[in-house]
Amino acid sequence: MIEVRDLHKSFGETEVLKGLSTTIEEKEVVCVIGPSGSGKSTFLRCLNMLEDITSGQVIIDGYDLTDSKTDINLVRSEVGMVFQHFNLFPHMTVLENIILAPQKVRGLTKGEAEKNALPLLGKVGLKDKAQAYPDSLSGGQKQRVAIARALAMNPKVMLFDEPTSALDPELVGEVLGVMKDLAQEGMTMVVVTHEMGFAKEVGDRVFFIDEGIFVEEGPPEQIFDNPQNERTQGFLSKVL
């Protein structure tokens, strides 16, 4: 589903990603952990070309993102992304947030898009908030709307960049709950997170990234209970 080959990313002189390679299978849930500034967000953003790739290849569902002939908007429409700070559109209601892209990108009518949106709102537990504006929602509700908005495009992959880091602790659970449901339904997911409990419970595989390199990867039991690399050990001893 996702293939990353020797991915390098530099900002000016600084190389942030120093040759990442991996393959992520359909329905797999991959959690990416690592210290702040290690390149987790940059890696995720390269997966839908929010960052230009300096060198290497990213192939998603057969589309080579680095090929200039690839329709990047088409690929992006199949890759959902959830941001740390939600990035809801504040001038639109919850429902309008969700139906915008299906109408403008997929060409659905408003009625069709709304018909698809309502069950999604039910899924994230916000049926009664369709007409609300984002400003009136709690952080947890906003993030659930953001998830519904991404799901409205029927993505093949969902990317999450620290989706619960900006939330009050008591609101983290409701968002993780929705993500867990998604994982159980078989969504392919790449999740950058500091929620080690989630990574352990839901992740099929965990990547530990440090200074732009995948230092260690494996099933959660191995990474959390029996890390091989000393940098992984050091990081986990700090966060667990």
Binding site: V79, F83, H85, F89, H91, A101, A150
Partner: protein, 220 residues
Amino acid sequence: MYVFTTTNNYIQILPDLWIGFLYTLLITIVGVLIGFVLGALFGLMRISKNKVIYGIATVYIEIVRGTPLLVQIFFIYYGLSDLTGINLDKLTASILAIAANAGAYIAEIVRGAIQSVEKGQMEAGRSLGLSSRQTMRYIIWPQALRRMIPPLGNQFIISLKDTSLFSAIAVTDIMYQGRQYASSTFAYFESYLMVGVFYLIITIPSMLILRQYERRFERE
């Protein structure tokens, strides 16, 4: 001369000022509307990554902002007709001058408002598969427009007052009408007092509306 300082002048000047009032409003409203279209265009050019497009907009804005409006109106009214042989009428020249002038200031308002929209909004739009044009149109622009309204209102008031300079080419605006009345009756005090009142009739309500909008805006 003393005999002219009667309350009659306050009334007798009204028909003249009424005509001036209509001209001033016409020049300002049409000029600022065209200026908004120009401003939107040049403002968008100012955020373009294309150096040529950016450069053209920057040159335009700097020329307009770096020269007096009086020079601009003389350039458009006398200079351009000299060059092209086409004689613009005074009203058209005035509207063009306000449009070109306000356009440059509005361009900076537009640029600032667009750049004030959080970067994450563009990213969220693009990550859903919207093109950058669609994201601009449905997500960035509507949010920027709301932020533009207070400074646009300000610019309207500034442009309104600026039109008084156009009496120099004898367009029959409030200022010109007042001057004519004053010089034919020698009632300078009454004339210019009434001229001021006529400008205030537009500016004070405009400012009140603006303030109300800003207050509502802050609450949101």
